[in-house]
Symmetry: C2
Subunit: 492 residues, 2 copies
């Protein structure tokens, strides 16, 4: 097969699209900005979702489900919130079609106009806090620790598969607390859950930090974020956790009677990650031959390819041995794809599974079989070796761990090598337009300066890293005094 | 606690609503016809979903995800399909809000009108078959065995929690095949999967059959169904599996090159079950004291209630023993809820967990502890007994199996006792208005007669049971010849 993949150097953006589409993860749909997540891509999402869901439950959360449609008036109740989402709202105005009396096919029935328009949720704070109002009376009803797996719609003008789509899948946690400290602790706890998931499962190092006012979630008091670095030197916001203060409680009048019998507004958090993570995963690890997927979340760990012979006896022996190997691997929890299709050449198959990023390939040939070995190739380094059939399951289990670790270390080294400290505007521009990556630089702390820098360079402050060291300096743009460096980058 | 539940006899419909709302499964939302699925109800749905998802995967299916929004023109391409769904469509017409220049808050921006309206999927055949067109070229691309877990919207005029809501959660399988036989086999296979799930997991006996033309899915050649019986003698369609013939392939021009190189239209199936099943579950088993949930899908199997004493020494001993029991049960895969809240009376708690339908209650008191026993009560029969602490896990595991079987047998007996053969119109009316249930009666096979019977009695033909015995008779309404009895009932 000729995969005809664009290389990263030739066109990074086209390389990314090629991997998504030719790798079988997703495809464009007939609906502007919406994608079809294909089975291979969806299995990847299921694996990620299952790990996260388990972590949410281990930290005391339960799942629930709230309506897709939000009355327009709800969305408008929190001022910053509606300002942030108004321009991206898909609006339902009617509830019926009818035959055009003039013969023009089906038309929207003008008599079926809704009294109040409904918005397809771009996020669910408003409908959920309107519900919490009925769930919360006293401190005994707190905390509420709820998560929802759902689809949301944000009418983005420029869309990209996984990274920015009009509809996407995500989870959104929405918690309610009696004290601000408890809510802040929850916000930080969920940031840790995300960071651990990104690093341990996606093999993707992240920098944890807090957003500046300019980059905050619409309606939050503080937005915490994990920021990852892509191979083109651009940052990607990979998950956010918001301390919402009492903003939504006030907007929806949600109060509780404290132990002392005092009525107080409830404290809130929300936090989410989305199918955007799949875009991050692709761009963090993959190469010019296709996807590289960390074993812990890979749809398949191993592809098993027997060399089927024309000779019936040999063929039968290899088929039997292949199935035996498959069973032995699966018993150890290894996810195996078996490819017995002999209408395709081995070279074609090898390229196909490299493209799909299956971490390990095992090839079984008659000569190897006679010697009690199989050929094992790893996707990340392309190394091949002959491995004893005896104890193969243990060898592969260990190999998968090694691959997971190797992918992480490679991404970590790249990320660490891509953090540059700069002290002047010229250096800042030179790094941005050169090696790119994360830039640690002084900033005078004002929204105006941040906006100006963004206008001039398209770079934004990704975050103020947690536990950032304080250090006197001068803002790279204005020269005004600064107490700490912040993390700049151009971003997706 | 006074649960204040309405009894079935007093008001069956109110009894149902009480159980859903007071049992903590779901609640009304601020959006007309849409519900909030609360954590306890959602956990029940997760348990059902996980079993079904496993069965779908075991039968070779994979999950994928298709867009929520469908262009109006797509929905119109299959004539019967659009006719079936036109009056229930939620229509998106705009993609932006803006501030009212006249100071009236947020309004829909008239300049952000979509060129073509988008419909929130009421079901996904059209968007999926438009996608399959790009996936299918040759017989090598077939079969496609895809399932989707999703939310759908059907703008129903009269809604009821779980049973009929404007938005609901479901799965929809959409498969593509090279031959009609293969598609029919798939349709029947998935009906079996649903029937087995209903009976083995939901403990709900069902009758498998095929729908008449009047009751067929909009766009199907044949609709297979599983029909369950509720305690008020009404039927509830619990799952359907459709053989779609080439209807959608023709509407979306999806052809494949056969082995012989001939271009043919692809054959299709679709099949689905929804959160409606939770409504069925409630009405099949529950009683005047609350929910009865079969152990195999229950959110919790056991609630553990220690009698905490004022005396510190006793209290500590009971707490320690309680946690020990919890761990021992959980190690056997038993889902345990622990209630250590001593601000509520035992009687209140007992009533609460009866309402919630937790299959087994274990009470641990100081005297029992001294005797090496605990008090075990089962929800289905309300029987209580003292059980040895030694080997408690095995006893409870066995008890859960017994409860599962007992719930099923009870529902089976009720269902079997509720099937009546009638031969005359008078008998038909008398049974319908009396004991109700399923009625096996002769019908002349015409849509007109079926429609007439529905108008006169609100009873419909639920299905023609699979393997129905042929038997000469006369239609109960028209007296015309009939070759078999069909299954009538009033239905949800």
């Amino acid at each position: 097969m000729s995969k005809e993949l664009t290389s990263r150097e030739a066109d990074y953006s086209q390389w990314y699209n090629d991997l998504v589409i030719k790798g079988g993860l997703a495809d464009y749909s007939a609906v502007r900005g919406c994608m079809v997540i294909k089975p291979y891509g969806f299995t990847l999402w299921e694996n990620m979702r299952d790990v996260l869901d388990k972590k949410f439950k281990q930290t005391g959360h339960v799942n629930a489900y709230f309506p897709l449609l939000i009355p327009k008036s709800f969305l408008s109740k929190e001022a910053a919130h509606i300002e942030g989402f108004a321009t991206e709202c898909a609006v339902v105005t009617h509830y019926r079609l009818k035959s055009d009396p003039n013969g023009g096919g089906m038309i929207v029935d003008p008599e079926a106009k809704l009294e109040e328009e409904l918005i397809i949720r771009p996020t669910s704070e408003t409908i959920i806090w309107n519900t919490y109002k009925t769930w919360i009376q006293s401190y005994r009803d707190l905390p509420i620790l709820v998560n929802q797996w759902a689809n949301v719609v944000r009418w983005e003008m420029r869309t990209r598969l996984f990274l920015r789509t009009a509809e996407f899948l995500w989870q959104e946690g929405h918690t309610a607390h009696a004290t601000p400290q408890e809510a802040i602790d929850e916000t930080k706890q969920m940031l840790e859950v995300y960071a651990e998931f990104a690093e341990k499962y996606m093999a993707m190092p992240v920098i944890k930090g807090v957003k500046t006012a300019n980059e905050r979630f619409a309606g939050a008091v503080d937005t915490y974020t994990i920021e990852a670095l892509m191979q083109d030197g651009k940052a990607l916001q990979s998950g956010t956790s918001h301390f919402l203060g009492q903003n939504f409680a006030k907007a929806f009048d949600v109060k509780f009677a404290s132990k002392e019998g005092v009525e107080e507004y409830v404290w809130a958090t929300s936090w989410g990650v989305s199918t955007r993570l799949i875009g991050a995963l692709i761009m963090a690890h993959s190469d010019d031959d296709g996807l590289i997927i960390p074993p812990k979340i890979a749809p398949f760990h191993v592809v098993l390819i027997p060399f089927l012979q024309k000779n019936v006896e040999e063929r039968t022996a290899i088929e039997a041995k292949t199935k035996e190997i498959k069973t032995a691997l699966e018993e150890k929890g290894i996810r195996v794809m078996l490819d017995m299709d002999d209408s395709k050449r081995p070279g074609f198959k090898f390229a196909e599974y490299e493209l799909k990023g299956i971490p390990v390939r095992i090839v079984i040939g008659p000569r190897d079989l006679a010697n009690g070995v199989v050929e094992v190739a790893r996707r990340d380094t392309k190394e091949k070796s002959l491995v004893q059939l005896e104890g193969l399951e243990q060898t592969i289990t260990q190999l998968l761990d090694d691959i997971q670790e190797n992918i992480y270390q490679k991404a970590l080294k790249f990320r660490d090598d891509s953090i540059t400290k700069v002290d002047t505007w010229d250096e800042f521009i030179s790094v941005l337009d050169g090696k790119a990556g994360f830039i640690l630089a002084h900033w005078d702390g004002t929204s105006e300066t941040e906006t100006k820098i963004k206008e001039l360079t398209k770079a934004t402050i990704r975050c103020i890293p947690l536990d950032n060291p304080l250090e006197d300096g001068k803002c790279i743009l204005t020269g005004k005094p600064s107490i700490q460096r912040v993390l700049f980058a151009r971003a997706y």
